[in-house]
């Protein structure tokens, strides 16, 4: 369970910002949680002051602005982010990719770090704009299987959260089954 290279096997690297947006983060230890909590606090403050939630694109552009400001400071935050959300007005789902340089891109599917090299080709091949939830989970399973197969380290499974019109929820995601060689 714990060892020289693994400090925790069940770390939740996501933060819920408001009713309909979730932010996943990775990067330098310390920076990640500090920055994520700072963003979460400010988005929650906005919701309390205005009695309304910011939409996903407004949240994404706010986070980008804060990260871009930090980029040109004495000690920039080294954080990569994925922002998912449902627009409360148009009811459309949104996904934003944001790296530590504060490059913002709206995407149909996204990953950070080594997962990009392993997963984006699978998603290029199998993702279509009109897939339903079950098909999406199937493609996600292909991605996590590929990571299990090819990543040189054991990343101790996955935490999967779903954002839809009913809000944000965590789902059971079994990773105990052995993955066969391709």
């Amino acid at each position: 369970m714990r060892g020289a290279t693994i400090l925790k096997a069940s770390d939740d690297k996501t933060k819920q910002l408001n009713q309909n947006t979730l932010m996943a983060f990775s990067g330098e230890a310390g920076d990640t949680v500090q920055f994520a909590e700072y963003i979460q606090a400010n988005i929650q403050l906005y919701s309390m002051r205005n009695d309304t939630d910011l939409g996903p694109s407004a949240v994404a552009n706010f986070v980008r602005g804060e990260l871009a400001r930090s980029l040109r400071s004495r000690k920039p935050y080294n954080v990569n982010l994925l922002l998912g959300g449902m627009d409360p007005i148009t009811k459309q789902p949104h996904l934003y990719w944001l790296d530590y340089l504060a490059s913002l891109a709206p995407l149909p599917y996204a990953a950070h770090g080594y997962a990009q090299y392993y997963c984006l080709s699978i998603l290029d091949k199998h993702h279509h704009p009109d897939i339903d939830f079950e098909q999406g989970l199937k493609i996600l399973r292909m991605c996590t299987d590929e990571l299990k197969r090819r990543l040189p380290i054991d990343f101790k499974g996955m935490l999967v959260k779903v954002i839809d019109k009913d809000g944000i929820r965590e789902i059971d995601y079994d990773m105990s089954k052995e993955v066969l060689p391709a």
Binding site: G65, A68, R72, W97, S103, A105, P106, L107, A110
Partner: protein, 205 residues
């Protein structure tokens, strides 16, 4: 290979025609050789003036947002649209403010001056030195290739339809010779009282 101008990739070009101008950009956003997005436009409109921004993606967003703010403030103060020439000076001074810690972008401006009716294009380096041109302006990681295709294809006094064909072929053939640019294009043809925006598919490799 770690120049901030060449991390994300991208290309932009502007051309003058007969009573019209054109500006076009590619749509790629990458991290070195990995393509992250194929829908990252680099041309932004500010009333009648069009600004193309290549270079570091974060600064493309920062600078385009900054000029949205500055041009909106200009329009409220002056109660009129900004002219391309004024915009060029605004871009130049804004970039030079960051002389010793610049935005890593190479801007391109295209528009028609509504007072004189004359087409106007210009380009900049990252610290705001203006490059006025009578023919065309190129920028981005495919700028070497764009110089070649533009020198080969451009001629004076092109009509809007011919200018569209010229700038499109110049861009498409330049980005196909650059690994960091491509994946589709946006082309704007700007006439006196009409702007046409076209989306080009381009090679998806």
């Amino acid at each position: 290979m770690s120049s901030p101008f060449a991390i994300n990739g991208g290309a932009c070009v502007a051309m003058v025609g007969k009573d019209c101008v054109a500006i076009a950009c590619d749509l790629r956003l990458g991290l070195q050789s990995l393509t992250v997005s194929n829908n990252f436009p680099k041309i932004f409109s500010y009333g009648d003036v069009y600004l193309g921004l290549t270079g570091l993606a974060t600064d493309v967003s920062t600078v385009s947002d900054l000029f949205r703010y500055k041009v909106n403030m200009y329009r409220l103060r002056e109660e009129r649209q900004i002219s391309p020439q004024t915009m060029a000076n605004l871009v130049s001074t804004s970039l030079y403010e960051k002389r010793f810690g610049p935005y890593f972008v190479s801007p391109v401006i295209a528009g028609i001056n509504h007072k004189t009716g004359k087409p106007f294009i210009c380009g900049f380096d990252s610290i705001g030195c203006i490059d006025f041109a009578k023919d065309f302006i190129v920028s981005g990681t495919a700028s070497d290739q764009l110089f070649g295709t533009c020198e080969g294809l451009w001629e004076p006094d092109l009509e809007p339809e011919d200018l569209f064909e010229t700038i499109s072929q110049a861009l498409l053939n330049a980005v196909d010779r650059d690994a960091l640019s491509g994946w589709g294009a946006h082309v704007y043809i700007i006439e006196k009282d009409k702007v046409t925006k076209r989306l080009l598919k381009g090679r998806q490799d």
